[in-house]
Every structure is written in C-alpha cells, then in structure tokens.
Assembly symmetry: C2
Homo-oligomer: 386 residues x 2
C-alpha cells in the first residue's frame, strides 16, 4: 500500500533496463489524473541535477500542482548538462503522453550514478508499460522501483481521524556506492491548501530527513514531494502536521537502519548552546567527525573526541561548563572525566541505537541529529564506482 | 641533527614510562640557557589542552621569549581540567629547576590520549635525566620522543646563505588512534626580531601545516614553535621566510606520508573561485568529504563527487563554468563528462601522490590543500582507544 494508502492515488514499478535486473522505474499518479496540491523540498546543492532544476521550474510555473511523478533509479541524470535537462523533460513528456495529461503536471526524479547520460531508449520504451501497470495495489512495486543499493523498500502509513498519509523513500549517503541521494514521495487524501502544505512538509523535513547525517554529503538529487488529493476534505491542521512529521520520522529511521556498513545509529543531542543554530552547528560538527564516527563503530565512549569536535565547530564553547552523557550516564563534566558506572555505559554502547547528550551549559539552544558510525562497510561500498 | 642543526641549540629524548617502551619525552633548549625569540602558533580549538593554555600565557607574559621546550608523548594532558593545568606548570618548573633557568622561560607540549591525567611521578622522575642528556647530537632522540603512533621520526634541515634552520614534527589526524595532534619544533641561528618571526611562522604554517587535511579534525593540542637564537646575525628576510616555508613544507609532506591507513596523498587545487577564502572553503569541503576520500582510496576519478562537494560548500558555484582535471587531464567541463584519455587518468590514479584541480570559472581565487584518502586502515586505528 504505502504511497497508495491514501484514497485517490495509484502507483506502479517496473524494470526498464537502467539496472541489470531489479526494478528501476516508478510512477505515482492521481487516480482521476487531475493535478493536486504538490509541496516539495529539494537539495540545496548548487550542483543540482537536471530533474531537480526541471521540477523547481514546473512547480513555479504551474502554481504548485501535479498529477504524476515519474522516477528512475540506477542513474541520477546528474553531471549531464544540457542533454540531462532535455532527457528529464523527455521523461515527463513520455509519461504525460501515456497518461493523457499536460506535461506541466508531471514531475520527475532520478537517482543513481553521476556523470553518465540516461539510457533514454530503455526509459522511453518502458514508460507506456509503467503507466499501464498503475493501480491502487502498485505501491510496493513503486517503492521497489526507486531503490538503488538499499537492502529493502521503505514504506510507511499514518492514519488520522479524517485522513490517511502514505509514503515511500530511498536512503541516502553511505547506503550506496555512488548514489548519495534521498528521495521521499508522500501522498494524502486530506485537502490542504498548497502554501500550508509546503510549510508543513518543510518543517517536517527539517526535523526528520535533514537531521539524518550519514556522511555530511549533500546530494545533487535529494527530493521530497507531498501530494494532497483532497478527497476526504480538510483535516485538523495540527493533527495533520503531526501526522506528516510522524510519517517522515518513520521513513528517516528506516533509511538510517538500512545505511550500508552502518552498525550504530546515534541519537545525538546538543543542549545548552547559545542558540538553536549554534546547537545545530555543533551537532553537525560532531556527527561528521571521522574520529567520533570511528569511536561509535568501536563502541568506545570516547567523550574527549566529542568535545574536541564541539570545540572546533566555531561556536561559543567553554570547556568548564560542558557535560557529556552516554545513554543518560554522565561521563564527563567541566571537560574532565566524571566518576561513572563504566559497565552501564559499556552495555549501552553495545546497542544498535546509542543516545548521546553533549551539554554546553551556555544557554537554552538545542538540536538533535541522527549520526551513523564509520566502519569498513562504508569504505567497501564507496571506494569503486563499479 | 634536525632540531639541533642550527648553532646554539641542544636537545634530548628519553623514556619516562608514559608509553610502555618507546621514547616519550623530549627537550629542546638553547646551549647557553639564555631565552631567545620564540614564535608560536596554536590550535584554534576552544577545547584547547592545558599545556596550550599555559604556553599562550607564558609567551604573553614574557614578551615572546623562551630558553627551553619540554614535551611528553603518550598522553595529551587534555580534558584534564585544573589538575591538567597544574601538571603542565609542574613540568615546566621541574625542567627549569634542572636547567637552572626561570620557569617563565620554559614552554611545554603534550600529545597522546585525551581525558586521562598525566603520570606525573614518572615524568618528574625522568626530567632531570632528560635535561642531563641534552647535547648537540640529541636532535634525533628528541624527534623520537615526540612521536605517538607515527611510523618514523620527521626531521628536516634547510641551510640558507647565512643561517641554518632545523626542525622536527609529529603527525596529525589519522596517524594515531587517539592522538590527533600535530607538533612541530623549529630552531634557527638567524637573528630575527620576535614580531617578524611570528608573522613568518604564521604565514608558513597557513601555507603548509594548515593545508594538510587528514580528517577535518582540529586537535586540542596542535602547536608549532620556532626559536631564533641569533648567533649568526640578521638574515636576508626574504631568503629566511622562504627557508621557513620550505622547512614546514618538508615536514608537512613527511606527516602526510606517514598518516596511518593512508594510501593516497592528494594535492587538491581549487582555482577560479570568487575569492581565495571561497577557494579555501571549497577545497576543505572536498578534502573532508568521505565519498570523495573513498574514491581516492579506490583510485577512482569520480569527478561528480568533487563537484557535489563543491556545490554544497556554501560558496558561489555555477555548474556550467566548472572544470575538473586529474593529473592535468581534463575529465569534466561544464558539469558534464569531457572526452579524455581514460588510460592516462587511470595511470595517474595509481600514483601515491595524486594531483587534482577543480576550476570554478568565476574569479581569480585559489587555494591548495593536501587531502588524504579514507581506507580501512583509518577505521582500524580509530575505532578503539585500546
């Protein structure tokens, strides 16, 4: 079900031949083919891929509405220049033609290797078949069609009192040898005006997808899209926003757990910063520090590295006021070792999910990120393209 | 010879017992025990270690002059709070006592694990022996005494027309399991006024030590000190500045080559940036990107990752104007693949030293950093404290 759990949406997945064997295309569309409110957040990378450039333009020009999204995996259509933009456009034209809708109502996403042109012949040949396969039951096939080296499809459903939200995603960063992309597609049968929908998706993304820091890399293709069909009328907006947050959070955890080479997922909380912004900078600096990430892999509660990373983050920091806790056990205070139950900490470090707090003692700013350890699996996956 | 190559300096190294077996203390001093001009640059980390805090204060109070430097390896005396500051002071007091000089003229450095108090009894017991061993021939022993998990001592000498410069260093970042510190000690028999000496050391450090980016981490203990004894009179200042640069560059290459787990050293040049600052930001962003570093380990000329890192660095970037070259061979132009001799690039990637240029095509800003690949050796060394 997932992306077709909400009333009014159909989906499909198929094998076009971009990848050797597995599904490599997906479609999500409205059942009645009418365009609906579409919110979207894209990568901030200035080396953004052609499909991202095209979608941004489409949503600007058509007032933020879409009837369908076509996706291919295996090739990111990034670093492909003018040809890439023409190919992205051609994917929407072919999909629109097969569906019988204006091309302006079709969005497109690609994920996979960078710098190689799309195999357009295969994609264009497969598109009518993909479109013909669409159905209410096609959600899982679509979720398979967007994967790169993910181990499993990522799907989630949240049911509200008057609406349903469904979604699918593929992971980011270390999940893939060359495909450092996060894609998420969400649908709902609630009726939500486009600007409100955009604000809700932006906020939920910031608090979920954007807190997942696998390796500090910002992909050329990151995209999250939320379509609101409206069949079941206007929801309670607070309930709806909470549901979007919950759906995005569920998908984020699924992505973290599936990261290639990942053995530890770290809920890293920075508190007591001079501001929320400074807390975010410190959390990012710690979560991206390779010495810290290696200590997580080794299950080593090496608090000195956390403070070293915080101290060089360029934010306000005073050693004497700092505190570090692993799994709620304070191991350092004032920049020096604190007496603690080492066995309790060691036991906590053996978990797949580790909780760490770094308190700066300077203000009320706080932030949380999800960090991933750095182990041999990451290098194995990322050292060769092929 | 190294740090005692210049006239007027003596040195020594010894085993105090901080480490199991190897040398773990070093001394550099003026032969006549008179304080001389001392320039120094320290870590910018706000979680700076007690010896760094003490040295900064000493140099402020004594007008930038020193007669001796005492160093221990195996323990960084960092994350040790007030006790750490008292221990750093005690190291200078003991050294000053044995030499017969005021403690204000003695500087101290430590490198090794963070968060554990120094074994002061062993250090204080060894100090008189260390001081008694000092000689013109003790340079190599001193160079051994400052190492942590470095594989070899790093020493260099540069001879000018009227002066000699000598130095020793220990490496940074991935060189060590828990000892992410760079230390460098330089001496000269030239006579250079303290402010000029400081400016020359600062400039040389920025262009050499600070361009070495092993893993983006800024240590709690990084220190470079240059003592100018003056026996051979005032040098030609241009020649002297060039010689300091050359000495620092030599030591930097030695550190890069000895980085634990390192298989590739990458001379990464960013050109055509809007400013030198933006070039530095882009170069740092690329050199710290784990996907990029893994591609270096694999010898894979994956230019898409370089542009992905530049595009997310927060600087001015326009895909269409970009160019990427490996070993002088242009592989990408305008953000897309450029026809090139793939065999020439593959041959270049097999070298231990790789040259990469990323041209942004926007201005005249440029910067160079020395990047290190990310391979299994790094994780092996950094995943457990013990």
């Amino acid at each position: 079900m997932s992306v077709t759990a909400a009333e009014g949406f159909v989906a499909a997945g198929c094998h076009a031949g971009v990848k050797r064997r597995r599904y490599d295309m997906a479609l999500v569309a409205t059942e009645d083919l009418k365009p609906v409110a579409a919110a979207a957040v894209f990568t901030q990378n200035k080396f953004a891929a052609p499909p991202v450039l095209l979608d941004r333009r489409r949503l600007r020009e058509n007032g933020g509405r879409a009837a369908a999204i076509v996706v291919n995996s295996g090739n990111a259509n990034a670093g492909t220049g003018k040809q890439g933009l023409a190919d992205a456009e051609a994917m929407t034209v072919a999909t629109a033609g097969a569906l019988g809708v204006p091309k302006e109502t079709v969005l497109v996403c690609s994920t996979g290797i960078i710098g190689t042109p799309l195999p357009m012949e295969k994609i264009l040949e497969a598109t009518p078949k993909l479109v013909a396969k669409r159905s209410r039951a096609g959600g899982h096939d679509a979720a398979r069609g967007i994967l790169t080296t993910d181990h499993k499809a990522k799907e989630a459903v949240v049911r509200g009192s008057t609406f349903t939200l469904g979604g699918m995603a593929k992971g980011c960063g270390m999940i893939a040898p060359n495909m450092a992309t996060m894609l998420a597609f969400l649908t709902t049968d609630a009726e939500v005006e486009r600007d409100a929908l955009q604000a809700i998706l932006r906020d939920a993304s910031d608090r979920t997808f954007n807190t997942l820091n696998v390796d500090g890399a910002t992909s050329t293709n990151d995209t999250a899209i939320l379509l609101a069909g409206g069949r079941r009328g206007a929801p309670d907006m607070k309930e709806f926003a909470d549901a979007v947050h919950k759906l995005c959070e569920d998908l984020t955890y699924q992505m973290a757990r599936d990261a290639e080479g990942m053995t530890k997922m770290v809920m890293l909380r920075v508190t007591g910063a001079a501001s929320d912004d400074e807390a975010r900078i410190a959390a990012k600096s710690i979560a991206e520090n390779n010495l810290v990430k290696c200590s997580w892999y080794g299950g080593d509660p090496y608090w000195g590295r956390l403070l070293g990373a915080a101290g060089s983050a360029g934010i306000a920091f005073e050693t004497e006021k700092s505190m570090v806790a692993y799994g709620g056990v304070v191991v350092s205070r004032g920049g020096t070792n604190a007496r603690h139950d080492a066995e309790a900490v060691a036991a906590h470090m053996r978990n797949e999910r580790i909780e760490i707090e770094v308190a700066l003692g300077l203000g009320t700013g706080s932030a949380q990120v999800i960090g991933i350890d750095l182990g041999p699996g990451y290098i194995k996956e990322n050292s060769r393209t092929s």
